[in-house]
């Protein structure tokens, strides 16, 4: 797997013909690109910015066409937290997302280690079997998964929200690719020292995984924080509502009051946008790697 995706593409070095004309041409090209991409970017992020700024507007100006509120207010947020148990929603989302992320990273890396570094009969078949589950996307198995979780008696429980979200081939696949590239010498020394496989995994493989774990952790956390469909069908108990369900039902009760709805949406979106702003480099890199073969 190519690993130099982080490198920025540099303009091809050209033969030194007429350097003056060359640089001015290049400068013009670069400023054209800046303007074109700049405009597309502004149009793209505009709806997100609009949501955030509108959530600070009063009821009389939420539908105005001005970007910034003339009298910024936090009343909308106060209303959101007093009208619905948003603290509870956020807590539930956090517990579910954090648990899934930690357990999934641990389990996925164990399987990936075995698939990448250990020899055993049936390895390729097992890998292919795991890989093929990538074709089965969540909405397609929503119905039978609901029936299975119902039969296990896990509907309306944290376990019912958490367990089905842990297992996916995506993390196993990416971690396996990563572990395949680790040089064998690192393990051989440990084997000569008589280390068992668990020791090797724990004290050699895991410490090497820090960077990929960080990238995957953000992706897993975001995916679970943003999950809506599974919590919708798996929970009816209001104490177990996650934040996405919370804002959806909040909107049903406050349809006309956009300033409240947007404040609620901002509450649900800000943690994801913050996580993205902080870890954007890692996220972007892991998305790019995941696309490769």
């Amino acid at each position: 797997m190519p690993s130099d995706t982080a490198a920025l593409p540099r303009p091809a070095t050209r033969p030194p013909v007429a350097p003056g004309r060359r640089t001015s041409w290049r400068r013009r090209k670069s400023s054209t690109l800046f303007v074109v991409v700049g405009v597309i970017t502004i149009l793209t992020v505009f709806p997100l910015v609009w949501m955030v700024t509108s959530s600070f507007k009063g009821p009389d100006e939420v539908l105005s066409t001005d970007l910034l509120p003339s009298a910024p207010t936090v009343d909308n947020f106060e209303y959101v937290f007093s009208a619905a148990p948003f603290g509870r929603y956020l807590f539930n989302s956090f517990v579910v997302s954090a648990t899934v992320t930690v357990v999934a990273l641990f389990f996925h890396s164990m399987a990936a280690y075995a698939l990448a570094r250990l020899r055993f009969p049936g390895r390729d078949a097992i890998f292919l079997g795991i890989f093929s589950t990538l074709l089965v996307t969540a909405p397609v198995v929503l119905v039978p998964l609901f029936l299975v979780v119902h039969r296990l008696g896990l509907l309306n429980s944290y376990a019912g929200l958490i367990l089905p979200a842990i297992f996916s081939a995506y993390g196993i696949f990416l971690l396996r690719q990563f572990y395949l590239a680790i040089p064998a010498e690192l393990e051989e020394a440990a084997v000569l020292d008589g280390c068992g496989y668990w020791r090797i995994y724990w004290s050699i493989i895991l410490p090497l995984s820090k960077s990929i774990f960080a990238a995957l952790a953000v992706l897993f956390f975001l995916a679970n924080w943003n999950a809506f469909l599974w919590p919708l069908v798996a929970t009816t108990d209001s104490d177990l509502q996650v934040v996405q369900l919370g804002i959806a039902s909040f909107q049903e009760q406050n349809t006309a009051d956009w300033q409240y709805v947007l404040a609620a949406a901002t509450v649900a979106a800000v943690p994801t946008l913050l996580a993205f702003a902080i870890f954007q480099r890692r996220i972007v890199e892991s998305i790019k790697t995941s696309g490769l073969k």
Partner: protein, 323 residues
């Protein structure tokens, strides 16, 4: 009688000793292999159990359920192919299938072109390009519920931002989400809006893998941008294009359900009831689990056929290119 330099005992012992050593080694090796095997299965056990219970069994159950009628009280009646026969005489299913086809035909190329177009722009180095790449991906990190709420707000009839903007230039905005003629195109535009950044990043990774020297040579040869794109970028980007065609088809066909549930609820007048929404509706609104399972099995079958076709057309996703 010459004195043997080595005693018979030693002679006898030596091969024996060798054999013993070999045996010890093979014993050690096989013991090691056994230990390795056992460790591997233990390492994989949590995932294998989890994937079986939460992915494989539901998938198989989906196929089995397709042959049953499930009543509201958890009773299962075997009905043979009745659910499948019902599918093809169900006008609502057939129209949702046609709609999904239209959706695919517009969105898969739409996502491809917007993703590739953006990637070709942001592959160059210019001020703030890193920021632009990140910002273009930003709509992808908020949930589809938030996406739905934002657009409902912006597209509100008469008083929404977009309606007012059009009003200012003397145009009357249609009811974007209330008019059956406009609802599906609106959903398509919103889908492109939040997914194009993702496809841009994947294309960008593919573009950055193309050796720079190729472009240098083309530039020395005086090739224009179009020739360079057609002869270098396009052929070398084929593996990425293949990956994107495959994953975007799956995503378009089965994803976006959250968006439909919140944004349109399949309406107005069923104009946004795509197959995946119809499955959801049959199962969780009407309790028709068997029928829903038949339709989703059919969906998986189509996806498998599409993947197989793509693999066949591209010879297993491998592309031979002059390296």
């Amino acid at each position: 009688m010459s004195t043997p330099t080595t005693s018979p005992a030693e002679v006898a012992a030596r091969p024996g000793a060798h054999r013993a050593g070999d045996e010890a080694r093979t014993d050690g090796a096989s013991a090691r292999a056994r230990r390795e095997r056992r460790a591997a299965y233990l390492f994989m056990a949590p995932n294998l159990i989890g994937l079986t219970v939460f992915v494989a069994i539901p998938m198989l159950l989906s196929i089995v359920l397709a042959f049953f009628r499930v009543d509201g009280f958890g009773g299962y009646d075997f009905v043979g192919f009745a659910n499948f026969e019902r599918m093809f005489s169900d006008p609502y299913f057939l129209s949702s299938l046609g709609r999904t086809l239209l959706y695919l035909v517009v969105l898969v190329p739409g996502l491809f072109v917007s993703g590739l177009g953006l990637a070709l722009l942001v592959r160059h180095k210019f001020p703030l390009v890193g920021f632009f790449r990140t910002a273009l991906f930003a709509p992808n990190v908020v949930s589809l519920v938030v996406v739905a709420l934002i657009w409902q707000f912006l597209l509100t009839d008469d008083v929404g931002f977009i309606a007012r903007l059009l009003d200012r230039v003397g145009l009357t905005a249609p009811s974007w989400l209330g008019d059956p003629a406009f609802a599906l195109p609106t959903v398509m535009v919103i889908t492109i809006w939040f997914s194009m950044g993702y496809y841009m990043l994947i294309f960008l990774a593919g573009l950055q893998d193309i050796p720079r020297e190729y472009y240098e040579v083309a530039s020395i040869d005086g090739a224009g941008p179009w020739t360079t794109f057609r002869n270098i970028t396009w052929p070398l980007l084929k593996p990425t294009s293949f990956f994107i065609l495959l994953t975007s088809t799956i995503a378009v066909m089965t994803g976006g359900l959250d968006l439909l549930v919140i944004l349109t609820g399949g309406g107005p007048a069923n104009s946004t009831t795509l197959v995946i929404y119809y499955v959801y509706q049959q199962a969780f609104v009407y309790g028709e689990f068997g029928y829903a399972a038949a339709i989703s099995s059919f969906l998986v079958l189509i996806l498998l056929a599409w993947s197989a076709l793509l693999f066949a057309l591209t010879k297993g996703g491998r592309f031979t290119h002059a390296q």
